[in-house]
């Protein structure tokens, strides 16, 4: 524990991170100088970010900026070429995807990746997999341990589903759910792995304004009920500006701005990245 504190102090002093007062509390995620190359192409370079324990952070940027690549590095789908990722004070360098998940990072996907042929409840139970404790032998012969643990996971799954009013859909196949419900189920499945940090990759994609509003309420609810941090990639600026406490803007793999929603909205570089450079703007450097 002492070691953790020491590291935090060192890191917060680093100029790459936001000043301490802007962090709600001790950071859950500290990323420094993260970079990855694919062959000769540098997809993400010198990515630095700190996420507080119960913070909602946004990662935005034009298409192809490297946002999902950052998520893939955080979850170790890609092994970063450079830099460190500290999760709750622990370096994830030597961890694989499964270990990172167990250490507390869960995610959803840009294009929904539910297990379509499993029921809604079973999808959630896949998320609960590592918290269900019974062995092969108990499972095959259905010993008391099996029943006890299955009952526990059933209750837990329903409890999680009821958070989003999905308990009635428990026995439907995930593939048969309407789009919005599939998105919600992905979040529930990720939450079932008991994360400290939830990564949402374009959670509002394809949603109408009222669904987006509901999603915003749900993201806040997740943060408040579970007391976890949320990092989200999103193109819907109403959502990003509405719920994020901190925003990082990425363009061509590099951070071009960091700050609060109002700071980002008035940042000329961000406006340029999104809208293009005005042809006649004088004296502006690229």
């Amino acid at each position: 524990m002492a070691n953790d504190k020491e590291q935090k102090l060192v890191r917060v002093q680093s100029p790459n991170f936001l000043p301490e007062k802007e962090l709600k509390n001790a950071p859950i995620l500290e990323v420094s100088h993260l970079g990855i190359d694919f062959g000769g192409l540098t997809a993400v370079d010198d990515f630095n970010m700190v996420v507080g324990q119960t913070e909602i952070c946004g990662l935005i940027g034009p298409n192809g900026a490297g946002k999902t690549t950052v998520f893939n590095m955080l979850t170790k789908v890609y092994q970063p070429s450079r830099g460190t990722i500290m999760l709750a004070g622990k370096d994830t360098h030597s961890m694989n995807t499964i270990q990172v998940n167990q250490a507390g990072i869960a995610r959803t996907f840009q294009n929904i990746r539910l297990f379509d042929k499993l029921t809604v409840e079973d999808n959630v139970k896949i998320g609960l997999h590592n918290s269900i404790n019974y062995g092969m032998f108990e499972g095959i012969f259905r010993l008391p341990g099996y029943w006890k643990e299955e009952k526990k996971s059933h209750e837990k799954a329903l409890e999680l589903l009821s958070l989003f009013d999905m308990q009635d859909l428990a026995n439907d196949y995930a593939g048969s759910l309407p789009y919005g419900a599939q998105r919600r189920l992905e979040i529930v499945r990720a939450l079932a792995t008991n994360p400290k940090l939830l990564l949402l990759d374009e959670p509002a994609a394809g949603m109408n304004p009222s669904e987006t509003q509901e999603l915003m309420d749900n993201i806040r609810k997740i943060r408040d009920v579970f007391g976890i941090a949320v990092l989200l990639i999103e193109h819907d600026m109403n959502l990003v500006m509405g719920i994020c406490e901190k925003i990082v803007v990425l363009n061509f793999g590099k951070i071009i701005a960091k700050g609060t929603p109002s700071e980002i909205q008035s940042n000329p570089e961000v406006i340029e990245a999104y809208l293009g450079k005005a042809a006649t703007t004088p004296g502006k450097e690229a």
Partner: protein, 289 residues
Amino acid sequence: MLSYLINGISLGSVYAIIALGYTMVYGIAKMLNFAHGDVIMIGGYMAFCSSSYLGWPPIICVLFSIVVCTVLGIIIEKLAYKPLRAASSLAVLITAIGVSYFLQNAALLIWSSNPKAFPNLINLPSLQIGGTQISAVALITIAACIVIMIVLTLFTNKTKMGKAMRAVSEDKGAAQLMGINVNGTISLTFAIGSGLAAIAGVLLCTAYPTLMPTTGAMPGIKAFTAAVFGGIGSIPGAMIGGILLGIIEIFAKAYISTQLSDAIVFAVLIIVLIVKPTGLLGKKIAEKV
């Protein structure tokens, strides 16, 4: 007539048990494990050795054979297939054929090509039903097949390992990100498939008691046919495909021609695949464009 039917179902049950191994491995690893038939042969030899040379009681011989094959299945997967997880399916297929030849030739070196007379592990009197005699082996084979089917269905649908298997078969990446140990789950699938192959090996050799290094090859191919017939990747499909194939084979032998029976079996497969390319219970996958 009835005895043909029972024999057909019995032979089909063996095919079904083997086909389950093919179909489960295909479902999860998306590969055709052509060495599966040779695991059956190894299972047969293990039961043969432990019974004839060591004189162990039948039930212990069967268990021994299951344990050896399960371990063998895990080793084959770890050494031959795991390094190729990211390779094209053709590379894995060729490797599987390589493993198959390796096992056959290893058996040839150890046990020579002389056929061994498989000991009768099931010493029970045959049953008399309405003037037809039904061997105890046939009944035990059918019973074993039913029990395996039920246990396997419950396992894949109702336990966390089974659910993990289904999740991995759908989307390895997503499963991994939910904390599922994908490699462990694939190993488990190979272990179960190979354990079933051992049971099939013992049942097959009890019914047809000549044991050679090539014993597993033909039943392996036929069981693969059965798996495709029923819809590869589907557990009930493998079961139905196996049993139908057994019945067709026995009836073809009895009423048409012994020599042509295999040709007829494969002709049926071709017809089924022309009419229903994904097999009897296979689902058509519509690609989203």
